[in-house]
């Protein structure tokens, strides 16, 4: 199948609105075949695990690439120079960044918009938005910058604006916008990186400001804190979010995505933490033991593997470093699955890298 044909089929698959096991399987095998044929490093990886076009019979057999591989390998069906869009991870471990190449953003954008409308917009077609993240122009390789720009152009009103620029966080601008929303009663949407939200909340707290945004207003945060702000436990984060902006916790929605995917997961608000996250019909997740690759019994903690058919050019199946547990309606995300409880006095990778950077 040509790439153009695959893209067409994927767009139709997304538009179909749902997929049963069989339909998902068929599409997944087509995507795997495309990756196996066009992507030499992925083929080597799959072959090493004895997964070939002959042996992969179900989407569950599609070998999942560890996300660290995006740092060491160029995983792209099309030669990288033919891909106008490259998203890179922010991770600066050893200065190497993971890359996802996109020959077209048609599938990425369709995946994002269909899902975003369903999971975030609620009854609204458009909302006035405030964005707590740099623009796409400022960060051309950030998938999150693209995602938020798309949210704004596809679902924001013309007055929607950014509060982050070279000059940093525009606290006064945010206060003016939030006050305006309070006065006019027009529902407002605040979107951004979780750490930027923390910075804004801290700045507002310093000025003794809080808001009661109009009914229907909502907040979307994503990405965690990444050392860019202090860490906050989810419970504290959402209770403060709700108190600071007057948005009920069921409308404080967290998006979980990654540069190595083309589809995002959402929860249905954060009344209870950890929330249950789920994705649309073109992505499926499994919870596995990272050492054996075996799925763990339902309800046990393991590491998340995502099979994202929209990520057709690189690797649709990825093995994350995120711990999770499968529950009714999706999965709960439990943070990073490494070194969480190294007990001994032997030095672990994180500390070593920190030392190496310091010296």
């Amino acid at each position: 199948m040509t790439e153009a044909r695959l893209v067409e089929e994927l767009l139709a698959f997304i538009a179909a609105g749902e997929a049963d096991e069989e339909a998902f399987n068929r599409m997944a095998l087509a995507v795997f075949a495309h990756q196996f044929e066009t992507n030499a490093p992925y083929r080597r990886f799959a072959t090493q695990r004895a997964r070939t076009l002959r042996t992969v019979k179900s989407w569950r057999d599609v070998p999942a690439v560890p996300i660290s591989a995006f740092k060491d390998l160029t995983l792209s069906g099309r030669p990288p120079e033919e891909c106008p869009h490259v998203f890179m991870t922010s991770g600066t471990t050893k200065g190497v960044r993971g890359k996802s190449h996109h020959p077209t953003l048609a599938v990425y954008d369709r995946s994002m918009t269909v899902n975003f409308r369903r999971r975030f917009m609620g009854e609204f077609d458009r909302l006035r938005m405030g964005i707590l993240f740099p623009t796409e122009q400022a960060m051309p390789n950030s998938s999150l910058a693209h995602y938020l720009a798309l949210a704004r152009s596809a679902f924001g009103t013309a007055e929607s604006r950014y509060f982050v620029s070279d000059a940093g966080l525009d606290v006064d601008g945010a206060i003016a916008e939030l006050s305006r929303a309070e006065e006019t009663g027009e529902p407002y949407a605040l979107l951004g990186a979780s750490f930027s939200v923390v910075h804004l909340m801290d700045a507002l707290a310093e000025r003794g400001r809080s808001f009661a945004l109009p009914a229907g207003s909502r907040i979307l945060d994503t990405g965690g804190f990444k050392g860019q702000s202090r860490e906050m436990a989810a419970e504290e984060f959402y209770s403060r979010l709700s108190a600071t902006f007057g948005v009920p916790r069921r409308l404080c929605i967290n998006m979980y995505g990654m540069t190595e995917l083309s589809t995002q997961f959402y929860d249905d608000g954060n009344e209870a933490c950890p929330s249950v996250k789920s994705g649309p019909h073109w992505i499926r997740s499994r919870v596995i033991n990272p050492l054996t690759g075996q799925e763990v019994p339902r309800g046990s903690v393991g590491v998340l593997v995502h099979h994202d058919l929209a990520h057709f050019n690189c690797a649709s199946a990825i093995l994350t470093e995120d711990a999770g547990v499968e529950v009714d309606g999706g999965f709960q995300l439990l943070g990073r699955a490494d070194g969480a409880d190294a007990k001994g006095c032997s030095m672990a990778v994180e500390d070593f890298l920190k030392a190496a950077r310091a010296s």
Binding site: D72, T292, A342, C345
Partner: protein, 482 residues
């Protein structure tokens, strides 16, 4: 339910207890750990200090060492109920293979028998009597070494029995002792105090074994404020947090996380010797699943021997596989499994991009050896029986790359000729390595080891000097003076 700790003078009913639960397969063990109020902390600190002052100071080091020797003898006696309890419960608590714990305990405890205790003392004091009374000094006058009245140990780690090292060091300098149990293995230190109580109750009254939850600042501050000296083990972040709370007048002796590695010279790589060398190297990797600061994470292997570094990696893999059947690795938490998996995955994918790399490992992920030809230098592995073999033209080539990690280097297990050994020792010492030992011995330092290059006993004491002038001046006031 096991009760942890040792609280002389406090009745168990007066103390709050909190339960830590340990699971291994179908077995569970509840361990009650004490949670003390500020008043109880004050009371216990005062009592331990007073007991140390009156009792420990009146004993000779030899008498104290004799009591420790008897306690250790009981733990070495396979028929003793304490030993049996240790063999039964420690595997359950730590998750380590029972046979590994049994052998490990014996090897470790042997380090603290009477003759070995004398090595500890002799390593640090040319004249051990200086701990008992004023001794003449080469420069003139007299001096006596005093240990702290209240020595606080903050223990960490889950290598069984590890707290014994600092606890015994403290007793040998007659320090009143308060030890904070590690939550990962909260039993052994308390047992040792209880065995001492059966042998010499007054000695055991100079020891309190307590617990507080990591991050409980109030309890930590209360103890830190009362100690004369604090010995703490842990990661550098944890140690930094403790140091910030230690009063400036209190001596603080931190033991941070370390990294250790092995070196194999071409002289050890002939067909007759390489197998045995690999077996010893694998043993160092497998023992306590690399949780110790002395556990190797990388092996530098010299090119040019009959067995190539690549082949040596294969030997090592084979030996790790064999040890895996003999001493199975303990069950890993999801976090630990994640660390191992992400290291393995990263090493494997590097191999796709670079044919000079390879990863050898079993499908179940119970061990792995990464091999690289590249001049990669020292790098931490995923722990839990994962290791990197780095090929080098000459072992000395590996040394300059170690310099950035000076503060973290500790043990080097080495297989080389005497000449090479001494040449490398000089270079390694200069970049911060503090211990060289035979392969197969990395996880079992000998008695009197200078942990992280420091003195076990000497760092704990202060010297009180009677200068020659005082001595001479005193003469004038003697009743028999002319």
């Amino acid at each position: 339910m096991e009760r942890a700790g040792h609280l002389p003078g406090l009745s168990a009913d007066a103390v709050d207890w909190r339960t830590l639960t340990f699971r291994r397969g179908a077995e569970t063990l509840d361990v009650a750990v004490p949670v003390l109020s500020e008043a109880q902390i004050a009371e216990l600190a005062t009592r331990v200090r007073a007991n140390a002052r009156t009792y420990l100071r009146s004993r000779t080091v030899a008498e104290i060492a004799a009591a420790i020797d008897r306690a250790v003898a009981r733990l070495l006696d396979r028929d003793d109920p304490w030993r049996q309890k240790a063999e039964r419960l420690l595997p359950l608590v730590t998750g380590y293979d029972a046979e590994m714990v049994r052998l490990g305990l014996t090897g470790y405890l042997k380090t603290f028998r009477g003759p070995e205790l004398r090595k500890f003392i002799a390593e640090d004091f040319a004249n051990p009597a200086v701990l008992d009374d004023f001794q003449p000094m080469p420069k003139g006058g007299f001096a006596r070494a005093f240990g702290p009245e209240l020595l606080l140990h903050v223990w960490a780690g889950n290598v069984p029995g590890l707290p014994l090292w600092s606890l015994i060091s403290g007793l040998l300098v007659k320090a009143g002792t308060v030890g904070k149990l590690p939550s990962a293995e909260p039993l052994f230190a308390g047992w040792f105090a209880q065995i001492l109580a059966e042998i010499d109750p007054q000695l055991a009254d100079c020891i309190a074994i307590v617990w507080w939850k990591g991050g409980d600042e109030a309890a930590e501050r209360a103890w830190l404020a009362r100690a004369d000296t604090v010995v703490a083990y842990g990661g550098n972040d944890a140690l930094e947090a403790i140091r910030a709370r230690v009063p400036i007048t209190t001596r603080f002796l931190p033991y941070g996380h370390k990294i250790s590695f092995g070196m194999v010279a071409r002289s050890a790589l002939d067909a007759g010797k390489a197998g045995a060398v690999a077996r010893q190297a694998a043993y160092d990797v497998a023992r306590y699943d690399q949780q110790g600061c002395y556990s190797p994470q990388t092996f530098f292997v010299e090119r040019g021997g009959r067995v190539s570094p690549r082949e040596f990696a294969g030997y090592l893999a084979h030996e790790l596989d064999a040890l895996g059947s003999k001493f199975p690795r303990r069950p890993l938490s999801m976090g630990e499994a994640g660390s191992v998996a992400s290291w393995r995955n990263a090493e494997e994918t590097k191999g796709f991009a670079d044919p000079s790399r390879a990863l050898l490992g079993d499908p179940a992920g119970s061990w792995a050896v990464a091999y690289t030809d590249a001049a990669d230098g020292l790098s931490p592995c995923g722990l839990n029986r994962t290791v990197t073999v780095v090929a080098v033209d000459r072992l000395a080539d590996a040394v300059p790359g170690l310099a950035p990690y000076r503060a973290f280097l500790q043990t080097v297990g080495i297989a080389a000729s005497p000449e090479e050994l001494f040449a490398l020792a000089g270079a390694l010492g200069a970049v911060g390595v503090t211990r060289l030992c035979a392969l197969g011995r990395m996880t079992a330092p000998e008695a009197g080891w200078h942990h992280d290059g420091r003195f076990n006993l000497l760092d704990l004491v202060t010297m009180t000097e009677i200068e020659g002038s005082a001595e001479r001046a005193a003469d004038i006031f003697a009743p028999y003076t002319d």
